[in-house]
């Protein structure tokens, strides 16, 4: 078992002033449990605002959970200290390649920062060697080291971001909508790169997306998230053949371009879960 998430909760609050009591605004992640086994890629799908990214950020400890535990490799949740191995073992690639790289840093500095966090003392020459080899493995040329992020295309930037994550020698790579902002052709290239890297680096992916086609190609298991909860987990083939939850059915239908009786579905659903629309894309379960 690489990663076990138990009953994880994260709420966002509203109005946390000096004198005003804060109250729950959004239950972004509301009691999620999920297991990830080594070598078994998991796809996490769901609509915008369903809590996928929040879950990813909870796993890498960008947020502190309200409740619940993240057990890494059977060793309990990892602490915030950077020296901790587990922190390195889980790396994340973000959605927007245009802003996930510091625009003021050259690629060399971006990669050096990751290298310096590895905890090993290595000579400058070896550093360059490692950076070049990791760049080569993501399919970028050597000259990329001296360039700034704005000199790259979106796909190339995402490759740099992946290279940065790879330098930390992670075992689990969380790809938070990592290909969503790229065009279809580049998406495909990145997915192929990911498949290749998986062999070279023995990685496990937690692939967060709303693109079912890619998940189908890449992941063995799929978890469907809806309004802060995981509503369905299944093997990929099983899920595509026989979706159980109404939301999954709808998601698949939309992806496969089937017609569904929209109004009937919504009514049915609202009745079932007593959802209250609070505007925007956020819903609150009450």
């Amino acid at each position: 078992m690489l990663l076990r998430i138990q009953n994880l909760k994260k709420y966002f609050y509203k109005g946390s002033g000096l004198f005003t009591a804060s109250r729950v605004h959004v239950k972004a992640v509301d009691g999620v449990s999920l297991d990830v086994h080594a070598g078994q890629h998991v796809g996490l799908v769901g609509e915008s605002g369903s809590g996928k990214s929040t879950l990813a950020r909870l796993i890498v400890r960008l947020y502190e959970p309200e409740e619940g535990t993240v057990i890494w490799d059977g060793r309990g949740g990892f602490c915030k200290k950077r020296s901790h191995d587990a922190r390195r073992d889980v790396q994340m690639v973000f959605q927007d390649p245009y802003s996930s790289l510091d625009p003021r840093f050259t690629v060399r500095r971006i990669l050096l920062e990751a290298l310096s966090l590895c905890g090993e003392k290595i000579s400058p020459k070896e550093q360059t060697g490692r950076m070049q080899s990791v760049l080569a493995s993501v399919g970028l040329e050597e000259g990329a080291l001296g360039r700034f992020p704005h000199e790259f295309s979106g796909g190339e930037r995402q490759r740099v971001a992946i290279a940065r994550a790879l330098l930390m020698k992670p075992r689990l790579l969380i790809l938070d909508e990592a290909v969503s902002s790229l065009d279809v052709l580049v998406q495909q290239q990145i997915v192929e790169l990911l498949l290749q890297l998986q062999k070279d680096y023995s990685l496990t992916y937690l692939f967060i997306t709303h693109n079912l086609k890619i998940v189908r190609k890449l992941c063995k298991r799929i978890a469907v998230m809806y309004r802060g909860k995981i509503v369905e987990t299944a093997e990929t083939d099983e899920l595509f053949k026989n979706p159980l939850h109404p939301y999954t059915q709808r998601l698949l239908a939309a992806a496969m371009d089937y017609r569904v009786h929209e109004t009937a579905w919504i009514e049915n659903f609202t009745e079932k879960f007593q959802l209250i629309d609070k505007g925007n894309s956020h819903f609150v379960l009450e």
């Binding site: 200290k81 973000f94 959605q95 920062e113 966090l117």
Partner: protein, 361 residues
């Protein structure tokens, strides 16, 4: 195409240098600072060299032709003083005494960096005569020399004050903005306490706390500290606002998820993105420090005689009689004006260059 490999900063520098007004101002400031740094060499007299026979002596005229109209190397005449019926001093050139202006002469002693001892000065006249390019003050001290020496204090106080207050402001703003929540709340309330009191009164109140028996160096340092104590709050608030939005940017999250320490993120990833604003704010706030020091010295609470600062020099020009009969003692004000204007022009240009989103109103 050539811009492609340049960093943001290099591009900005390029367009800054294309702005002629800003470059001129940069040169003027460079001259002023050079004048202050090399005051010992450039000034014909030390700041406390006085000759009471030359009290309020008008600017010395440098002649190149003698009374018979023959061309000569530049020289000045000695001055004789007499009093008119209102007991006003009237200076007249004494044609019998001629003192050629000499270069690289031995003048008052000074110790650059407190180590060497030197007497070499750029220009001067024989000790029996005096040359006052910009006139003399009430005690017959050379105004030009005192302006150069005063520049040391007036020009450095802005830089030092800004350096201290911006370090505090950046750090406090960075911490408040990055952590948010309660930390932010407390730090911002502290800032507001400083901003609540009108600056000049706070300045006076803090100045009154400084012991009266401080020597001039201690007074100088305490003024710098006081000035920077007042200035940091406004910057901290703005930096905090910028950091609040920056901390949600993905490259900050990426660094955080990799395990970069909080301080490392603030210093390496968050604050550098506020730099374009900070540089502008620095440039536009230096004049405030210079003016505040001048105001303090003008009312006699700043640098004390015999040490010179531009505000201190101006304090002589508080009486209508002095201005009427010795208008040249207003010249230090001109230096303040030029300096403040230069900083403002450069700051404005930097804003255009670094922050294209803010358009001039």
């Amino acid at each position: 195409m050539k811009d492609y490999h340049k960093s943001e900063f290099q591009i900005a520098l390029g367009s800054f240098l294309r702005n002629r007004a800003a470059v001129v101002c940069l040169w003027v400031l460079g001259l002023l600072y050079a004048g202050a740094i090399f005051a010992d060499f450039l000034a014909p007299y030390s700041y406390q060299n006085e000759d009471r026979d030359y009290s309020y002596c008008e600017p010395t005229r440098v002649h190149v032709r003698d009374e018979e109209g023959r061309w000569q190397r530049p020289f000045v005449y000695g001055m004789t003083v007499s009093f008119d019926q209102y007991h006003k001093r009237v200076y007249q050139e004494d044609r019998a005494r001629k003192y050629p202006v000499e270069f690289f002469v031995q003048g008052d002693e000074y110790r650059p960096l407190g180590l060497l001892s030197s007497k070499l000065r750029l220009f001067g006249v024989a000790p029996e005569g005096r040359i006052h390019v910009l006139g003399a003050d009430s005690r017959g001290r050379d105004l030009f020399s005192r302006i150069l020496y005063g520049g040391r204090i007036s020009l450095s106080i802005g830089l030092l004050g800004v350096a201290i207050s911006f370090s505090i402001g950046l750090l406090v703003g960075g911490i408040a903005g990055y952590y948010g929540g309660r930390v932010d709340n407390i730090l911002m309330r502290v800032c507001e306490m400083f901003m609540m009191v009108p600056g000049f009164y706070l300045l006076l109140a803090l100045r009154s706390v400084v012991p009266a028996n401080f020597n001039s160096m201690q007074v100088y340092i305490s003024i710098v500290v006081i000035l920077s104590f007042i200035g940091w709050a406004g910057l901290a608030r703005i930096i905090r606002g910028m950091c609040l939005s920056l901390r949600e940017r993905e490259f900050v999250l990426a660094a955080k998820s990799m395990g970069v320490s909080d301080l490392g993120i603030i210093v390496k990833h968050v604050l550098p993105h506020t730099i374009s604003y900070s540089i502008i704010a620095v440039m536009l706030s230096i004049p405030g420090y210079i003016l505040a020091e001048s105001a303090l010295s003008l009312i006699g609470l700043g640098i004390q005689d015999p040490y010179a600062s531009w505000g201190n020099l101006l304090s002589e020009a508080m009486g209508i009689l002095q201005i009427q009969f010795a208008p040249w003692i207003l010249i230090p004000g001109l230096f303040i004006l030029v300096t403040v204007m230069c900083f403002n022009v450069i700051g404005d240009c930097l804003r255009d260059v670094l922050d294209p989103k803010i358009k001039k109103l």
